[in-house]
Symmetry: D2
Subunit: 311 residues, 4 copies
């Protein structure tokens, strides 16, 4: 458990789990294709008692961005309404603006977010990304929103720790163990939320450098598991879903490469799963209706999101 097994070359995994062509040569939705209307209808039945959980972190300067690659969202007031605004009568309004990287807080990665060997998911050329954004695999392909059954896999709780340590690689065997222990099963089209406790670790001291210096996360060996279970999307409370440092000495972010570019699977990052996890622990129910609606930025390669779990 947590023991690092030898990993095979990542390109072999990539070849095996690739979904290129699976839904046609023009497909830009990848594993979201697993979410059929039947999957959605079933997922809605999991909203039994009407408890609702939001999993976005606060969009403010307490976020984990340290400014080296991205900054936290920067919001400013355009109007407060403290002086006359030119309206007839007593109407006054406040209004604000934001400058932010689309992936600076809780976020969806679009399929066009990552590429290698000159190709995006489904073989689209990475040259189709230019200063205007992505022609293929843009965030708008996540519309009409990622609505499906969600399953929380609380790995940190399983190990009875507040958080897993940086560099801890979660194995597929461990996922099976946690899922079994949680008395749930994984179904085709599920959105899997992995709780590593890394967000919990961050809010312990708000050390931005520590948050970004590495993280516990999924092993590349989990990619076969995700493929086998026909998982539609994965989210986590860390910043990259996968374990960092990576399991290869010569390849950064291999899980990203394979999940997004070969499998066509959107990733949700920097989630706050604490309230949801506390409730799941309490009632023993780890499944729910998941709604993660991206903002449809035309040609965007990511989007902030506030994923909602309804139990």
């Amino acid at each position: 458990m947590g023991e690092v097994k030898p990993v095979e070359p990542w390109r072999e995994i990539a070849a095996r789990v690739s979904n290129w062509g699976r839904w046609g040569s023009t497909d830009e939705r990848g594993t979201l294709n697993f979410i059929t209307p039947e999957v959605v209808a079933h997922a809605a039945t999991l909203a039994r008692t009407g408890k609702v959980f939001a999993t976005a972190i606060p969009f403010d300067e307490t976020g984990p961005q340290d400014g080296r690659i991205r900054t936290n969202p920067m919001r400013y007031m355009r109007e407060t309404g403290h002086s006359d605004q030119g309206y007839k009568g007593v109407f006054r309004y406040a209004d604000d603006v934001v400058f932010m990287a689309l992936q600076s807080a809780t976020q969806w990665d679009a399929l066009a977010h990552v590429h290698y060997d000159g190709k995006l998911f489904n073989g689209f050329s990475s040259e189709t990304i230019d200063e205007k954004g992505a022609q293929y695999g843009a965030i708008t392909n996540l519309n009409p929103g990622v609505v499906s059954r969600g399953v929380l896999i609380d790995v940190a709780r399983h190990h009875k720790v507040d958080w897993l340590e940086k560099g801890y690689a979660i194995s597929p065997e461990e996922l099976d163990e946690v899922v079994a222990n949680q008395k749930t099963v994984i179904r085709s089209g599920d959105v899997i939320l992995i709780r590593t406790g890394w967000r919990n670790r961050y809010t312990h001291d708000f050390d931005k450098a520590a948050f970004k210096s590495g993280e516990p996360g999924l092993s590349v060996r989990c990619l076969d598991w995700l493929a086998k279970h026909e998982v539609a999307a994965v989210g986590s409370d860390n910043y990259a879903v996968e374990v960092v440092p990576p399991e290869y000495s010569d390849q950064d972010l291999p899980f990203h490469l394979i999940a997004i570019r070969d499998m066509g699977m959107p990733l949700a990052e920097i989630l706050d799963l604490e309230s949801l996890a506390a409730d799941c622990e309490e009632d023993g129910i780890y499944e729910f209706l998941f709604v993660g609606a991206p903002l449809p930025f035309t040609r965007g390669v990511g989007s902030p999101v506030n994923p909602i779990a309804i139990k």
Copy 2:
């Protein structure tokens, strides 16, 4: 129908429908309090066949903002991944940033968005809004997301027009008529979506000036109707929910003042209801599970949103 009845002074309506103190002196959620877990659980049962509809407009330069007050979201690429980015191996990524007014596209108005006579909803002083944002009634109070039963009231379709005309005031009698015709009822905690066709009019020619020059929308007389039905929130495919020019010669945006500041009701604006409306017309079912999750901008007074309807 559409005939303008004499309207009483707006302050009389405001006094009658005010919810100040109704949920305690510290309440910042207003009419969202109508959404109980039971309401949510029932709403989820409306997601019967798994059809999902997103109602955000495209977040790009085709939006209706003309730059005089707000601009459309401006997104730029920070990275395309066409040259080395310093990662080990073949990892390349694309990334983008946005500058936008939080209310420039499909959006939630927070309760702190509007004030008059120096007061926000529930009597909080408008002085509590400063350059850092709102201390009370901020958008974060819409968390954990507005999840409830949604009802589309398709007024334009009822009148068999592509869109209602600018200045057309939708009356409460008309709402009753449309609802009855749609064979639905309004329940406590509902989120009401009013289709005026104004978005449809806009995409007809993308005339930004025309979109903002006035609009069809709810009469202030509908506020009693909303109060009576204990509606939790209202959205519309126009920019202000309410009819413009207003029904008073000396008061702009009276519906905003009363709905947001006196009733404590969040408004959703600039929705695209076309796909949802087409489906409702086809299957005759105008109710659904509504999920409208704001981005939790700390102290923000609005948020972009992609409201989701699940049938």
Copy 3:
């Protein structure tokens, strides 16, 4: 005067006035090379009485941008200092941020701003521009600032009009006439400021659409004149220096193409020359020390600037 003479094909002018290779194959400064230390030293002698004129327009929402291509600078307060900011003692500060297109107000065009046939000035490939900016011809090449003799050529005043009309093409013969009338001469290394009155026209009614709908400006026939006089840079009180609509039915902005890309001449646009012009008219002296210091945005293709004239 103002009569439109037949213009030869623009590519013939381009070939004739090209400075590619003139200052070596790696040159990125173009006509700024005309500004030698001797030119600067002489220019400084023109600052005789110590009158100083700033020629930037106000950087605010009254600017001419209508939001279709660019918006006016959008500035927001980050701090006002009205509440405790965490400093010891009584220190309080105000601070602001801006979002702006670098060419939205008074500005320098870098040589990398314009290209055609896949080439920038001096033959650099336009492919060297990517999402990070320009590798060659960036705005930083205007450092250590454009400091030289400045000459105002007040064409509007010469014609005794408040402003020249849209589409009015200023001819080289006319430039000679105005210069002679102003009793000045043009010297190698000069920065020429052309007053068309178009800014004056704009502040008359602040009609953004009118400002951008076309403009009086230099004829492409002036390019030979600029080359002959070894002018270092040209600025104007319109938005593109050159006449719009252009003198060719099949080529937009031909003056830009030739001046920037073939000659290597930076252009300054959207100047406010009113105060300077009034003073020149009064004392009859149209020459001065000109200082136009760009902000050195690494790889930037333009920069806001507040050009200073010292008499």
Copy 4:
């Protein structure tokens, strides 16, 4: 030399050097009033050989901002011109935008930048600063640009060090010593540039945290010296002109408070004085024509600037 003398209470210094009312009750220019046309005309005579030096740092991510209070300027391409842009003919253009704090790189502090006891310079209420900016003491009051005699006081070179250490307080006696050693004198209206070497220290290792952790700079005791010499403005190669940590245990940034708010003196910060200093050392001439032109952001409290020295 560098020895810390006991400092009197800062409010006593403030009272003594205050310029409130000196140029009338409506004055918003403060010590810039020392710059008369005669001062400018004389300053221009210092531009003898035509050498020009720009003192702005590169406006890019190599700047010293670490994102905690401000970020370095963030520039993005809006257009590259690699695909059709809708113009007739072969015209293609590149264009960029920036998001930045106005004081994130080389900058002017406006008089409205700092306040205490509810007052700005000349007694204006700090309440006149709101979310729209400053009504009094805004950056536009630095127009038509700060043009005057500049004098470099190279304290680091005087001590034959690459840079002074953090916390080193430059004394007025030391200023006299350096000035005498440089064989120059200070005149009314001068702009003084203090070289501490702190920029040099920064570019040695680009350690943002080290740059902001404290700095060598002027002692509050220099304020009398600046007043006596009728200095118009002071700039430095550090981030706050003054020594940090401050000379008082209970008051941060006392020099800022007195210089800006009591004397009405604009400060220029984060200059790169290395090239200028090298030249001054070489030719032994430490005076020049100084031109520091702010961008006239209406109601702004600061401005990026590229100050120019002409010798």
